[in-house]
């Protein structure tokens, strides 16, 4: 829809690859680009947290607890005198690892299941879909909580906790991707171009490889991008409930969970992590929208 002038110049269009065209379409969406830059920035912050953070996020200064934002502690200090800004910066690491890795795991599980169900059809499809129906009838958060309790929660070391969270999310989250891929495969199987390819003598392997999976991939990428904020929010929810990342390792959700008990007296404590979480989620959603518009080849038909 918003097509920039450059994409309309025929000479340029001719030389472009599909990714190049998608990239230009993406660049023409200002909010998506801004969100992308913001996310890149946060990723840099997560990687270089020790360099960027002004203080050690684990260091408690008991002489300076509950400080309001000031020149020394930019976002104030918490109940144990730890620097809130530094804790938020380190919390980025948790949110991004959970957000991105859980989506990768979800696709690894969901894509083949959905593709097999759609391609084989018949009873394989029927059984898969009934399993998915049963799983999706259980509220997602409830399932996370049960799985986290079963897996031993967030106690122990950080990596154990992170992998538990990612596992819990993947075990429930693959449903969406599987359903999406199955639907795509089913409709692509019946599409005119697959029939046309068959009439050219293409065999099943060729059709699945070049016509079905390639077309089904675009919505998967879009769904991955849009799934990241959901996973981040899931982690925040678990940590808020005390089932996610255990203190002292900082995570945004866990900070919100702990600080909400002081919200009446020191509301600034809960404000910053909540704000960062909200803005990050918004950025991912905007990026996801941009990616969707950029990758959907039908948009300029």
């Amino acid at each position: 829809m918003a097509v920039s002038a450059t994409t309309l110049t025929p000479a340029k269009v001719k030389k472009s690859s599909s990714l190049g065209m998608a990239w230009r379409r993406f660049l023409s969406r200002k909010w998506a680009v801004a969100a992308g830059i913001f996310i890149l920035l946060e990723i840099m912050i997560a990687i270089f947290a020790p360099v960027i953070a002004p203080y050690d996020p684990y260091y408690s200064d008991y002489t300076a607890t509950y400080q309001k934002p000031n020149a020394k502690y930019l976002l104030g200090t918490d109940d144990m005198g730890r620097d809130v800004l530094s804790r938020i910066i380190y919390g980025t690491r948790v949110s991004y690892s959970v957000g991105v890795l859980s989506q990768v795991c979800i696709v690894i599980i969901g894509l083949p299941i959905g593709a097999i169900a759609g391609l084989i059809g018949g009873w394989v499809d029927y059984v898969t879909m009934r399993v998915i129906d049963v799983l999706s009838s259980i509220p997602g958060m409830l399932l996370y909580i049960l799985l986290m309790v079963a897996l031993g929660g967030g106690s122990g070391n950080v990596f154990q906790a992170l992998s538990n969270i990612i596992l819990a999310m993947s075990l429930t989250g693959w449903i969406g991707i599987a359903r999406l891929v199955r639907g795509q495969v089913l409709s692509l199987k019946e599409s005119d171009f697959v029939r046309a390819a068959r009439s050219m003598g293409a065999d099943n392997t060729w059709i699945i490889k070049t016509h079905i999976l390639r077309n089904a991939l675009t919505p998967v990428v879009i769904s991955m991008t849009l799934g990241v904020p959901g996973a981040m929010f899931g982690e925040a929810g678990l940590s808020f409930l005390g089932l996610g990342i255990a203190p002292p390792t900082p995570s945004w959700g866990q900070m919100i969970g702990i600080y909400q008990s002081f919200a009446r007296t020191w509301p600034h404590l809960i404000l910053y992590p909540a704000l960062v979480l909200a803005v990050t989620m918004l950025a991912w959603i905007l990026l996801g929208d941009g990616v969707r518009d950029a990758l959907d080849p039908n948009i300029r038909m």
Partner: protein
């Protein structure tokens, strides 16, 4: 000269649905010579497209080809296409025979380049390497009238108009110089000026590659322009079969007559065009007698109980009618 290419005998295709079995094609038979053009005409739902898909063996569940014989005179002698294994059939499709579909807007994969899709049959059947396939694709695109063909190989279908996409489809279909080209309403989705161009293109390519063509359409004008032979279908049956001139000038079957009567003519202006009263029969019911009999104004008693079947009435002209057969 009249070398036989394809002989279809008693082809029957049905679709088993929950609501009952749809008898889409009920014993269709026809012959096609090398280099000739057969037009299959009939109204929507008469089994034209299902016949074409059956010949390509592209009928998918819940449909199946129940009976029949499809003798194809290929390079390696006569083969019954219905007896080929799916893998052997893949060797035939796109190579010995290929198909053009109705809607060029959806028949090309939107995420692959035009070049990639034209090279598809070349790579599958001719086992061409990338460079050779590319050069052939450029030649094909130039042949079907795409300007700047070399540049356009890297374009995507959405950068092409409907007429150009149909040209690409034609290029893909003739890529391996097939002996038989089936065009299933190739012009229905295009506007009139483009229709004529595509028909001309098919006509030229047919002579160039020595390809026989089965053209399926409800546009009698297209048939008059391109076909040598015409098969008129009704409710899954062939009701009349003959050389194009005879069908147009002296149609014998009441249905064909009615069809011809409903074409607007250039030089006469009747008050109203003729219409055929009634509706075609439901294909889920077993048809007893002549399928057209309930709508036919010439029917006799025998029509209701006995299906006439095709009977010869002139050289190369057959007609399934008790009345016309005994005129």
């Amino acid at each position: 000269m009249d070398e036989l290419l394809l002989e279809i005998n008693n082809l029957q295709t049905e679709f088993k649905l929950n609501q009952g079995t749809v008898h889409a094609v009920n014993g269709v038979s026809f012959k096609l010579n090398k280099g000739e053009v057969l037009g299959i005409v009939g109204e929507s739902g008469c089994g034209k497209s299902v016949t074409a898909l059956s010949v390509m063996r592209l009928i998918e569940a819940p449909g199946r080809i129940k009976a029949g014989e499809m003798l194809f005179h290929g390079e390696k002698g006569v083969t019954d296409l219905l007896k080929l294994s799916p893998t052997d059939m893949e060797q035939v499709r796109g190579n010995q025979m290929s198909m053009i579909f109705q809607d060029p807007m959806t028949s090309l994969n939107p995420v692959l380049t035009i070049g990639y899709q034209i090279m598809e049959p070349l790579k599958i059947h001719r086992k061409m390497a990338e460079e050779q396939a590319q050069a052939t694709a450029v030649k094909l695109l130039e042949r079907v009238g795409i300007p700047e063909a070399a540049l356009r190989l890297k374009d995507y279908p959405h950068q092409f108009s409907g007429g150009m996409r149909q040209r690409v489809m034609v290029a893909m279909a003739v890529a391996c110089s097939p002996r038989l080209l089936i065009a299933d309403e190739p012009t229905t989705a295009l506007d009139v000026t483009i229709q004529a161009q595509i028909i001309d293109l098919i006509n030229e390519l047919k002579d160039e590659f020595g390809t026989a063509v089965i053209i399926i359409t409800h546009d009698l004008g297209v048939v008059a322009e391109i076909a040598n032979q015409v098969s008129v279908m009704y409710a899954g049956y062939v009701v009349e079969n003959g050389p194009v001139q005879q069908i147009f000038e002296a149609p014998r079957h009441p249905y064909t007559k009615a069809l011809m009567g409903s074409i607007p003519r250039l030089h006469s202006w009747p008050e109203r065009l003729t219409t055929i009263e009634g509706a075609p029969p439901s294909l889920t019911d077993r048809i007893v007698g002549c399928p057209f009999q309930p709508r036919c104004q010439f029917r006799i008693e025998r029509c209701a109980s006995e299906n006439p079947g095709l009977m010869p009435i002139a050289t190369g002209h057959t007609c399934a009618c008790w009345v016309a057969g005994h005129e």
